[in-house]
Every structure is written in structure tokens, then in C-alpha cells.
Symmetry: C2
């Protein structure tokens, strides 16, 4: 994983449903693989050090403990977290990015509070009105990047355009794909369908130099029709959660059928290695680590319920974003597109 | 299936991707089971009769052929179908409902044209501003009804309220559940989340006598958290299509893993009966037949790609709606709720 560039990442050690134990174990796992990586563990100093020692590890130059006295709870209102928890592990981790001490930060904490705090502390990139949440999703062809997944409810066409630019830069950087295809999520492929917001955004995208392929429908997300799928945060969040629900239901019925009789259990035993390989190929944990795109700094959100495997994936995704200098690339590409638009 | 009430259903015999052969075979299958059912096959008379004879069947009193010279194509614009295809099989089938000749009609044709034509010919029920598309979806607990699935883009809170009433009446009638739970699809369960449209709709629902349980998220659809899930047609259509995509992707990866080596193929062979039973339990064809709710008449939309099994299910769902006198029940319940609202 290491390619010679020294990288420092701040981890919100207190965030997430499972908190400290998962963060520390993931940190140690990734550290063992990435030689030029420094991790700053932000949280209650005593608790963090105790948890490290449970693994027989002492704080070091590459594994720094940074004290923060507070913790943002999963049900804290974003406004309250912003106002009352200025020394939370989440806020302090973001501050470290702002101060240039860390190249990026990762948190499994409250999404609303993370977005509000990151936006307040880091500010948005020039040309970006609203940051968006982007994540990679598995598809039949590999994976696609989708945004916004819930940061913005009620977007203007211009916001969708900015999301498209950020998504295309993300796909280019992460996948090494110089011209990723961009689709706009809609309820039909015909130009006359959809609401005014997507129709106007379609006009902006068609006039840009992005590799815009037109409207895509919900099923196209997982068919891999587009490398980047753009939508409003309300729609994106519902599509994402709906996908989780479908997968859970399918798993439920599959288990139920294999558990029905001794004979079906035997069949399940025989098929187990195959079913495991199948589950691994659609395992959402592999795709853990949603990016808060559009900020002057890299902030990655891990799923709140992430386990060690999933949280380590989020740290690895963050390393890749730092290597690719994502925010700088977004500013450059957006500047170029807006320049072109003003010239025409 | 037959409970003594004579029922007449008009079938758009020319609609759908697979057209006449599927409609005729489904019709014959359902006819064999429902003794007091009369089906009116609407379409090109020669073609319909020829197709019947292929099955060794002649038109009869219970299997009437009704000529219609035109066909709505899947890519016809709704407005063009309405204006230029006044003798289409779809339009004539709806006319038969309007004239009281048929109790309901079923079409696998172009959704937009079907909705536009049904609305134009039949008109909406008193108290209903906009008809909605409702369908049953499988859940971990059984099934749930969801609406709107794509008829209305950009709904007012009042429209969502009307959808909730219609959905609750549908669930009560079809499932015999006197007080179905109603959830409003949103991006979080907290009251402060979501857009203004759902927040205001939530206030209307909370003040009604519906069994309103609050906001539900995308994953709740398939967990069966609510018996009725209410949303705007843009969001509903994307959630539905996204679900199809996830299921397709999961099937794709499962097949791929079982086909990988001779050994995994053997495991697949052993597990086949279980996998088949599992597929049957989440088979979307079992849930074919979306209802156009809120019209002065019963119109059911079959999936365009429906096969005989699926189209027959749509006819059966239609029979049930006729038996339950769905439109009358909706008017009664809505009238009662609006009465209560005006009194408070």
C-alpha cells in the first residue's frame, strides 16, 4: 500500500456504535500494512491508551494519542454538537485537518454532526455551494460512485451539476479512469420525464465536457450503467437504505430456506463455501467509507455499525484519497468547467 | 377463488412487451379457476381469435372478443396516445369500465399512457386530486403496499395524505387488516429530518385517525415496518427500480459463484431445490399487478415484461379489488377523514 508519501490520518476514536475497540484494532491492522502512515487517535486519552495496551501497544511517533474530552452521541442534533461539543473527538479530529497536522480524518460518528462540523470548520471548496456524501457501491460490472447520499435535501440543478463534477473527479482519482461516465438518476430515460430539477441539471451536464450519458434509473445503479450516479440527497439516501433493505430481506429468505429441513441444511452445508464467496462479493463492508466531498480537506464517514474489517477499509479508502489529493483535483476540474461555461 | 359474485374484467390484449400470446394464455388459466368470471379480450379481433384457436378455444359468452383497431406502443408519449389512439386496445378497455360493461381492466402497456388515459376517461374519485400507482412488495414479515410508484412527481403534503388514505383502504381490503400501519418514507426517523413536503404530510397524518406510525426509512420497506409506505412518485419509482437492480445484482453474483468450477457447480446442483424455493419466496412475479388508485374505476397495470404466471397474478389481484369494491371504500374512508378534519 505504501508508495513513499508520508501520510497522517486523524481517527475519531470515540465515534460509531462500537466505539474505541473497533477503531483501535482497525488502526493497528492498517498500520501494520502501511509503513509511512501516521495515525492520530483522537479521544479520551486514558481510555485510548488503555485500549492500546490491551493489544500490547504503546503510543508512539506513528501512533499518536490526542486527547479530546467530549464525545458526539449518535442522537445528538448537529446544531447542538456544533455548539456544545467543541472538544469532542470528532471536532478535534477535524480541527487537526484544518490545522494541517493531519491530511484527513475518519469518523464512524453521527453523520449529521460530522457534516455540519466539517463544513463549519473546514469550509467548502471554491465553486462548491454544498458538500455531498459520496460512496462506492458494488455493481455487476465492478463498482459505481453515487452522490449525494443524504447531506442535501432539495438541491438546485447547479448543486447536482457540482455533485457530478466532484463525483467524476473522485472516480478519476480513485479508479484511474480518465473519463468516467456520469448519469443523472431519474424515473425514466426519456428526456421529458422527471422533475424540473433533474431536467435543468441535465441541460447543464450536457453542455459540459463531462462524459455525461443522460438519465439513468434506479436499477442502473447496480447494473453499472454509469461510473458516477448523481442525485439529490433525499433520493440518494432512500435508494441506499432501500438497497440495504432488499439485501437484508434476500439474506433472510435464503437462510430460512436452507434451515427448513435436515436435508436443506445439508444442502446449505455443501453450498457453504460458494455462498460465502458470493457474500464476500457483495459484502457492503468492502465499500465502507463514504466521502464528504467538496470540503477544504478530506473527511471520511464510516458506517456507524462498522466492524474492524469495515473500519479498516474506510481508513484505506482515506489513504487513497489523500494520495490522489482529491480536494485540489476537484477545484481544478470545476474551475476549468466553469471557465468553459462562461466562455460559451 | 370464486365466491359467487359474477365479475367481468376487460384485458388490454395487445399491451405489454410480449403482447397477445401472454395475455391469452393467462386469461385461459385464470378462467379455468374462476367460474363466475367473464373476460373481455380487447384487441385486433382477427389476431385475438387466431390466438384463442391456437389454444383450441372459441370466443364465448364468458370469453368475449371486443375489437379495437389500434395499439399503444411502449414508447408512445401519453399525450399522443390520448390524442391519436382513441381506438387503442388500452383506451377501449378503459371505456368498457367507464360504461359499466366491465368491473375493471388490466393492461401491461405503457404506464404513462395508461395513467393519462384512465384519468381522462374515468376521472378521479371525489376528494382525490391525483391518482397514484400502488403495488405490494415482499417483506421479511409478508408484504407491504407502497405508493406512489411513479405517477406523480412533486407532490404536495395533501397529496401524500390522500395516498396514505388510499393505501390504508387498499391494505384493509386486500389483506383484511382493519387498521394497517402507515409509514411516511423519509431519510431519517427523527422529526427534524427530511424535506418540508414530508414534514407537513406527517402533521396531517398524525392528526388523522389512520394508524400512522411516523417516518420510515428505505430499509424499512423490506423489513415490513409499516403495512403501507407512502412517498412521492419520484422517490417511490427510484426506490422500486433500485430494488430491482439490487436483486438482479445479487442473482448475478450468486450464479457466478455457483458456475465458477465443477465443484461449485455440483454444490449448486445439490442446493438447487433450496435455491428455487428461495427464489419463489422473493419472486417479483408473485406481486405483479400495480393498482392505479384514486380513479372512478379499477385499473390494474401489469409489468410490461410479465410472463403468463405474472400476468395471471395481475388478473387475480384485479378480481380481489373488484370483490372488495375498492373505489367505493376509498371514497367512504376519505370522506370520513375529511369530515373529522373539518370538525376539529
Amino acid at each position: 500500500m505504501n508508495k513513499g508519501q508520508a501520510i497522517t490520518i486523524a481517527l475519531d476514536a470515540m465515534g460509531g456504535d462500537r466505539g474505541l475497540p473497533v477503531v483501535i484494532e482497525s488502526a493497528l491492522e492498517v498500520m501494520a500494512q502501511a509503513l509511512d502512515l501516521t495515525l492520530i487517535l483522537v479521544g479520551q486519552e486514558d481510555a485510548v491508551v488503555t485500549e492500546l495496551r490491551r493489544h500490547g501497544v504503546e503510543p508512539s511517533e506513528r501512533l499518536v494519542v490526542h486527547h479530546a474530552s467530549q464525545r458526539v452521541e449518535m442522537d445528538d442534533l448537529p446544531s447542538a454538537a456544533l455548539r456544545n461539543k467543541k472538544d469532542s473527538s470528532m471536532r478535534v479530529a477535524i480541527n487537526l485537518v484544518k490545522e494541517g497536522v493531519a491530511d484527513a480524518c475518519v469518523s464512524a460518528g453521527n453523520t449529521g454532526a460530522l457534516m455540519a462540523t466539517a463544513r463549519y470548520v473546514l469550509k467548502t471548496l471554491p465553486g462548491i455551494d454544498r458538500p455531498a456524501i459520496a460512496a462506492a457501491l458494488p455493481t455487476i460490472r465492478g463498482h459505481a460512485h453515487m452522490l449525494d447520499l443524504g447531506a442535501n435535501v432539495g438541491c438546485l440543478p447547479e448543486h447536482l451539476f457540482q455533485f457530478a463534477v466532484m463525483g467524476a473527479v473522485l472516480a478519476a482519482a480513485v479508479d484511474g479512469n480518465p473519463s468516467p461516465t456520469v448519469g443523472l438518476l431519474n424515473i425514466g430515460e426519456e428526456e421529458m420525464k422527471g422533475n424540473e430539477q433533474v431536467k435543468e441539471a441535465a441541460r447543464l451536464l450536457a453542455a459540459s465536457d463531462l462524459n455525461y450519458i443522460g438519465f439513468v434509473e434506479g436499477n442502473d445503479i447496480y447494473l453499472g450503467t454509469a461510473d458516477v450516479v448523481v442525485c439529490d440527497g433525499f433520493v440518494g439516501n432512500i435508494a441506499l437504505k432501500t438497497s440495504e433493505g432488499v439485501a437484508q430481506m434476500i439474506t433472510h429468505y435464503m437462510k430460512k430456506e436452507f434451515m427448513r429441513t435436515p436435508l436443506t441444511r445439508l444442502a446449505g452445508f455443501v453450498a457453504q463455501p460458494v455462498l460465502q464467496a458470493f457474500r464476500a462479493s457483495v459484502d457492503p463492508r468492502r465499500y465502507n467509507g463514504a466521502t464528504l466531498l467538496g470540503l477544504r480537506g478530506i473527511v471520511v464517514k464510516s458506517h456507524g455499525a462498522a466492524d474492524v474489517f469495515a473500519f479498516a477499509q474506510a481508513i484505506r479508502a482515506t489513504i487513497q484519497e489523500v494520495r490522489q489529493a482529491l480536494p485540489t483535483r476537484i477545484v481544478e476540474h470545476l474551475g476549468m468547467l466553469l471557465q468553459q461555461r462562461s466562455e460559451t
